[in-house]
């Protein structure tokens, strides 16, 4: 093969899903292609136009709009369009316009279908796109066919397949069995009075607690039901439901809203949607007893992340799923510690801070955590138990793969293992007498989320933090000063200002110059408005309708956050694929011109909103 054609083959090998094809096949592809060139602004395809090729973008970028002009996707180098046409007898479905001068390789329809017929994985990728899957740089309007993602986007309410079947608690086992048989259900909710759920009974209970124990069918159902079952809210995600079931080893989950049952979901509802690696990973962690074994599971997180990102996950999806696994490891270690140390002498709650608290973890995360203990805590009497607990869990997390926090912000540190009253003093001091050093702590401790234990211990403290922070302008001004210290890497003429010299020469630090400034902005707007969410997306959504930030500003920031986060994740996935350790340092040349301009736009958004914040709060602070 000529070297020029080899270059085309190399290009294809670097892009999904062509990378799934065997080399022998890829090497024959260039000869089947035609190259075409389109100036920026050229309408390449319009609905119902004949389209007998799959278009692969070699350089440049395009925009996909539906017949009504709604933006569906922005594509850049290595991505394909004309996919719908391949499944519609060569008739284009949407408008495709070039955003830049673009060179495309055209693969004939017949060759496309040959490959799709020969290689199921290739077919699978496009079959999804041909259906509904279309992606855009920022506005993802997709129905995700990937199971994992489906569970992230489907709410529990959508999974309830049929009307609720329930029986009054006065019924006998025989009545219950008859009703289950008649209604063909595998479980019954046991109610009292007006639909108040007091228990759940399943076909497994009939087997284990009635037949196997030779119990009389005339006994009341209350004898064999599981009282006060674990339930889930209809607004939760299907993913959370499956996770809850795996964690508690139950197959039926009542769906409760405002204290009333609205339905039941079963593992079948969910598992019909196939196996889920993340959930199984979490499930496995829950069964292991040795942190070294958990480490083997957590080691697969980078792979999971690549899979998610390639399947089109948003950064929020990915963050949620990845964080779920560190939550699972934390909970498991706490259980093991309690088994070893005995029950806690006084109630406590284990809290996650930082990115785990915000549910925004990526492939590389260290641990930020603390312990909030009931005020009945007596250091003399209970100190040793909690120290041992914290050491066990923090050391365990370090073994599992969540390395020690370089700033010692861990429950292992005495300062961060304290009763509620001490935490109240901490927060009072940070908010009422802010100083530069304490502001550093804020980025971790103002993003707390309870993981395990008596969560109510945190509730009061949380209320205190939220209301104090909302009312204290000086504190807010300090936070603003701190937030503005994270510079956005854009020069005067909107050029990237890159790291100079050293190991990361000519790179952009996507974390400290991109993600962190937005997280900071979201935190300030949330705290200043008494919003109690900690997740950055949730914070920005919550403040959207409030006066402190313009609606457009909040939306822009959400888009910018998604774009920068996903760019960072994709960068890390590329490193993982190459076998390198993931980091946050991106060479802008590794992006297409189109992605670069998007990234610049995203940074400009941050800069504008930093300026707006500075004006709103004055330049006081640090």
């Amino acid at each position: 093969m000529s070297i020029e054609l080899e270059e085309i083959a190399e290009f294809l090998k670097q892009h999904h899903p062509f990378d799934l094809l065997p080399d022998d096949e890829i090497n024959t592809l260039p000869k089947r292609l035609t190259a075409r060139y389109f100036r920026a602004g050229t309408k390449v395809l319009s609905p119902e136009q004949q389209c007998l090729h799959l278009y692969i973008i070699r350089t440049g970028g395009t925009e996909t709009r539906d017949p009504d002009g709604l933006l569906l996707a922005r594509l850049s180098e290595g991505e394909c369009f004309g996919v719908r046409a391949m499944f519609r007898n060569g008739k284009a479905a949407n408008n495709i316009t070039t955003l830049e001068d673009s060179l495309c390789y055209l693969l004939p329809e017949k060759d496309f279908h040959d490959l799709a017929g020969k290689y199921p994985q290739f077919n699978y990728f496009f079959a999804q796109m041909g259906g509904e899957r279309l992606r855009s740089g920022m506005q993802l309007i997709e129905s995700r066919d990937d199971d994992q993602l489906k569970l992230m986007s489907v709410r529990v309410a959508d999974l309830i397949a049929r009307n609720l079947v329930s029986i009054d608690k006065s019924a006998t086992i025989l009545d219950a069995g008859k009703l289950m048989s008649k209604e063909r259900v595998s479980c019954l909710l046991i109610t009292e009075g007006d639909a108040e759920v007091v228990g759940i009974m399943t076909d497994r209970d009939l087997r284990n607690r009635v037949v196997a124990q030779g119990r009389s069918y005339d006994d009341p159902v209350t004898e064999i039901m599981t009282a006060n079952p674990i339930s889930i809210h209809p607004d939760e995600y299907a993913f959370d439901a499956l996770l809850t079931m795996t964690r508690h080893n139950v197959r039926h989950l009542p769906v409760m809203k405002d204290g009333k049952a609205v339905g039941v979901i079963t593992t079948n509802n969910l598992l019909a949607r196939q196996s889920l690696s993340a959930v199984y990973m979490a499930g496995r962690i829950g069964k292991l007893t040795d942190p070294a074994d958990m480490a083997k599971v957590i080691k697969q997180v980078p792979e999971l992340l690549s899979h998610l990102i390639e399947a089109g996950a948003t950064s929020q999806n990915a963050g949620h799923i990845v964080t779920t696994l560190s939550d699972a490891a934390t909970v498991r270690l706490l259980q093991l510690a309690e088994e070893r140390l005995g029950p806690p002498p006084v109630p406590y709650v284990w809290m996650a801070g930082g990115s785990q608290g915000r549910q925004e973890q990526t492939a590389l995360s260290d641990q930020d955590n603390c312990l909030i203990i009931d005020d009945a805590y007596d250091p003399e009497q209970h100190g040793e138990w909690f120290r041992a607990l914290a050491d066990f869990v923090c050391d365990g997390l370090n073994t599992v793969g969540y390395v020690y926090c370089p700033g010692d912000m861990m429950a292992k540190t005495d300062q961060w293992r304290q009763p509620v009253r001490v935490w109240q003093q901490y927060f009072n001091k940070w908010i009422e007498q802010p100083e530069p050093k304490s502001l550093m702590l804020c980025s971790v401790w103002f993003d707390l989320r309870p993981i395990h234990g008596t969560k109510s211990l945190f509730d009061n403290l949380h209320r205190l933090i939220v209301s104090k922070a909302r009312d204290n302008r000086i504190f807010q001004a300090y936070m603003v000063g701190n937030a503005l210290s994270h510079h956005v890497p854009l020069g005067f003429f909107k050029n990237f200002v890159m790291i100079r010299g050293g190991e990361h020469d000519s790179t952009l630090d996507l974390k400290h110059n991109g993600v962190v400034p937005i997280v900071d902005l979201a935190r300030i707007h949330a705290l200043a408005n008494g919003v109690d969410a900690v997740n950055t997306f949730e914070r920005l959504h919550a403040v959207k309708s409030l006066p402190s930030i313009s609606k457009q500003g909040a939306s822009d920031l959400l888009d910018a956050f998604e774009f920068i986060s996903i760019t960072r994740l994709k960068h890390q996935v590329r490193q993982i694929r190459r076998g390198d350790a993931p980091d946050n340092f991106l060479h802008p040349e590794s992006l297409s011109a189109f992605e670069r301009s998007h990234l610049k736009d995203a940074f400009s958004v941050i800069k504008n909103l930093q300026n707006a914040l500075e004006n709103a709060f004055g330049k006081s602070g640090t």
Binding site: P30, T34, Y37, F38
Partner: protein, 229 residues
């Protein structure tokens, strides 16, 4: 365009040399040339590059040829060809340094006559695309005269000339190296290419050509004679 060029490109001259041509060159002339009044989008092109032992068509020889066909403004990679040619003299050291083609590589390669027998049918009825066409036209013309008794006439688009026109029109000062194939490609957002051999250069020129046409011809109405040399 000089008077001599006008004559050499004229219909009359073509009729004259056609009668002297033999073999595959005769067959080439039997097919009418591309119509200069047809739209570019309906014209077929052959982007071609060759490597030689030096710059003088009278003294130096062709050592390799690469080409690709363009139809409906699409570069058809299935038509790619790359052939080595066995020169009559030993390869000079300077030429080996440039092309990395060694005597051993071309020992079993076809001679220029065989190569032209293969190429000429591909050129018939099509328009030549080349980056700096005088080289290709000079060497092919000389070879045709030697092998088949008559010079070569073919309507030609020179991507270098088109680039020069663009540059003059833009009124920008010319930077050194601006007319090199690679920098021209970059300015049109085309992927970087590695200049390896005649075919890679031919393909590179074909991409540049598409970009130059896209710029001139947004509606697809441009006539061929507007871009000919």
């Amino acid at each position: 365009m000089g008077l001599r060029q006008k004559i050499v490109d004229s219909r009359l001259y073509r009729d004259f040399i056609q009668r002297k041509a033999t073999g595959p060159l005769r067959a080439y002339y039997d097919i009418p040339p591309a119509d200069p009044h047809r739209p570019v989008g309906e014209t077929e092109f052959i982007a071609l590059d060759l490597e030689t032992t030096g710059l003088d068509p009278k003294r130096d020889e062709i050592v390799s040829l690469g080409w690709v066909i363009i139809r409906q403004l699409g570069v058809d990679f299935s038509s790619c060809e790359h052939i080595l040619v066995r020169p009559t003299q030993e390869l000079s050291e300077s030429s080996v340094v440039v092309h990395r083609i060694f005597d051993s590589d071309v020992a079993n390669a076809p001679d220029i006559k065989t190569a032209l027998e293969h190429l000429l049918p591909q050129m018939a009825g099509r328009v030549l695309i080349s980056h700096h066409a005088p080289i290709e036209l000079g060497f092919l013309g000389q070879a045709c005269k030697q092998c088949f008794g008559a010079p070569l006439q073919i309507p030609t688009v020179d991507t270098l000339v088109l680039a020069l026109r663009d540059l003059h029109r833009s009124g920008q000062p010319m930077k050194s190296g601006a007319l090199k194939l690679d920098s021209l490609r970059r300015s049109h957002n085309l992927p970087p290419f590695r200049a390896h051999n005649a075919l890679s250069d031919a393909i590179a020129a074909s991409g540049l050509f598409l970009a130059q046409i896209a710029k001139r011809d947004p509606k697809g109405e441009l006539e061929l004679n507007r871009i000919l040399r």
